[in-house]
Symmetry: C2
Subunit: 381 residues, 2 copies
């Protein structure tokens, strides 16, 4: 990563890349520093990685981060500046300016996501280039350690999902709903089972989707209330490790009771689309091409996308420190590279029937892919 | 809030305020729309609140958000634009521009945190003013409902803390550490007890501080390993409700075994400082004045701040949808208003002794404050 960074700076004729934000929300900052904090800090990626933090954070930043140099705002007189003006943001901007001048920075790269107010302030004294984050591009190609971290979360994901599927399998259909011991099994109950299991494995899962029946026709609906009998239930889990900060992502669709021929045929089409999507993955392929093959399968099965129904989202996305990151398997022109980690998640959605989605997580290899997902695909449980 | 927004737009001569981001990270966007999503979306606060989301999010946004109008990027031809260029960001920017033109927007306000790339793009066609977020100012004054939401989290916080303090109280000091059934009680064990209790109450707590002995001299150290006997243990909890999204924040310092005279005197000084800080709170007071009184108490007790030791942080901060928000009780010139919710959290830190901090959460009232914290302050447990 040091090599990539230095090559990029030379090629773009920049003295450094600057980031201001917090590393909970800005994954580029976490990636470059491995310093996790909810409070705003400053990161300069030049020949070395520099952090500028509050004196309160100096100790933890020095201990926990991968940065080469950690300095604090107190050493740049933030308290005196703040006492003078009473304006925290002005004091910070002055400190930032002095810090950059002290590092001999003249030509500065800022990503398109950089805060506009600070960009505007720095434009007076520095020669600034706004650019797409190269760090987000670097992040798309995972190291062996990152793949191991994602695998660990994926494993926790599967264990949590198997508890949920087991409960559905043990339930009994009666009328419109499914029951455990005369109590209707709800989205909320399954979500709790999944999220507690994940927490026990050191992972946070938020907004886990457990949606059955008509509700599942909206691919982002989380689901509420009793789960239907004889209708597909979509379970989509995307937990993040509290420790490594990496995500995993997977989806299965199951049904308790009798599947209609219509639903069975939809399931088979999704299964076929997923196999085709996975089969199209290899380093050098374009995400757009993978997506277009998946669309073709749906077309061939008699499910063309029409008026917001059918296959209404892209085939997949990169997964890492963000749940949605590069590369995209959709309409964007992203070329797959070795060690990308991507989802392949075709689905079909019809308001009058419901939704069916199958999602695996895979590592792109030179010749194809390594599937990180080890969980059976079976509709009726 | 509609009234405040319209008055602000008129006063600043703006047609609208624009936000682009996700509402997990941008609390202004969540506050204005109550629409929660990890994916980037667009919010225009004009006479009405408009959301521009992907077609995937249209259903959920219409159902869950407070927005007056929800439109989607598909209706602005994002798929065709993306197919033409293969560049998602370019396609989005074109859609955004068309959306703003359709709304008749000419004079646009952007906050200083707005993404610089989009700011730069929009500058060509719109008359743009960069400004401090007025929404963050509005957020500082809570409604009755918001205060109730914070109270609920604070209550969960106290219940979790009481479990932790009870465990310490039941432990036995032996040599350097404290033990439960011959097993040393660790920071990790207490953190697990606290975080599970909070999850059971619908709250997420991340980075809860349970730090004893020398480690606690760094106010942001989370703490690891066996907890010390005869030395102060700082427990700082700041959970967020998964449902309401509001935070609470509190700290207690406890000790198992024998407290040295030195530690007892430090504790008394912190207690005195906290009472003084709380006593100085009322609508119209400046946060700076409250902070300066607290500093004076430490000075009078013989603990002047010196060389990064003693009372090395500010007295408190606002709490709401962010854990740290306005107003500040520190060096900034923030004037307290009725229905601000603020922490009062003086502390003393000496590397050779450790740390002591006491933190309550209070609502600012016309005459003083309402303390939302109901938890005893006792050093030896």
């Amino acid at each position: 990563m040091d090599r990539k960074r230095r090559a990029f700076l030379t090629e773009q004729n920049l003295d450094g890349l600057l980031f201001v934000g917090d590393s909970i929300c800005d994954q580029d900052m976490y990636y470059l520093s491995r310093f996790l904090t909810t409070d705003r800090f400053t990161l300069l990626a030049a020949d070395k990685i520099h952090l500028l933090v509050s004196s309160m954070e100096q100790g933890r930043a020095s201990k926990e981060s991968f940065a080469d140099v950690v300095v604090n705002t107190t050493d740049f007189g933030i308290a005196e500046k703040l006492k003078a003006s009473g304006k925290p943001e002005e004091a910070y901007l002055e400190v930032l300016r002095e810090f950059l001048l002290e590092q001999g920075i003249k030509r500065l790269g800022l990503t398109n996501r950089f805060p506009a107010g600070i960009y505007s302030y720095l434009s007076r004294d520095f020669e600034i280039t706004l650019l797409d984050s190269p760090v987000s591009r670097w992040r798309a190609v995972k190291t062996k350690e990152e793949i191991e971290a994602i695998k660990a979360v994926q494993k926790a994901c599967e264990q949590a999902l198997s508890l949920a599927v087991e409960l559905i399998s043990r339930s009994r259909p009666k009328g419109d709903y499914i029951y455990i011991d005369d109590c209707p099994l709800t989205s909320e109950m399954l979500r709790a089972v999944i999220e507690v299991a994940l927490l026990e494995r050191g992972c946070d899962a938020v907004d886990t989707i457990v949606a059955g029946g008509f509700a599942a026709a909206d691919p982002h609906a989380r689901g509420t209330g009793p789960l239907p009998a004889n209708a597909p239930i979509v379970i989509d889990i995307f937990p993040r490790s509290r420790c490594s900060r990496y995500f995993a992502d997977m989806t299965r669709t199951v049904l308790k009771g009798e599947a209609s021929l219509e639903v069975e045929e939809m399931y088979d089409a999704v299964l076929d689309a997923q196999q085709t999507g996975l089969g199209a993955i290899r380093a050098g392929a374009s995400g757009r091409e993978v997506h277009s093959r998946v669309c073709q399968v749906f077309h061939d099965h008699g499910y063309p996308e029409r008026e917001g129904k059918g296959f209404i989202h892209s085939t997949g996305h990169g997964v890492g420190l963000n749940i949605h990151e590069r590369p995209s398997l959709g309409l964007a022109e992203d070329i797959l590279e070795e060690r990308n980690v991507v989802t392949v998640e075709p689905g079909l959605y019809y308001p009058e029937i419901g939704g069916i989605r199958l999602e695996d997580l895979a590592v792109v290899t030179a010749q194809g892919f390594e599937n990180l997902t080890n969980f059976e695909r079976r509709l009726v449980v």
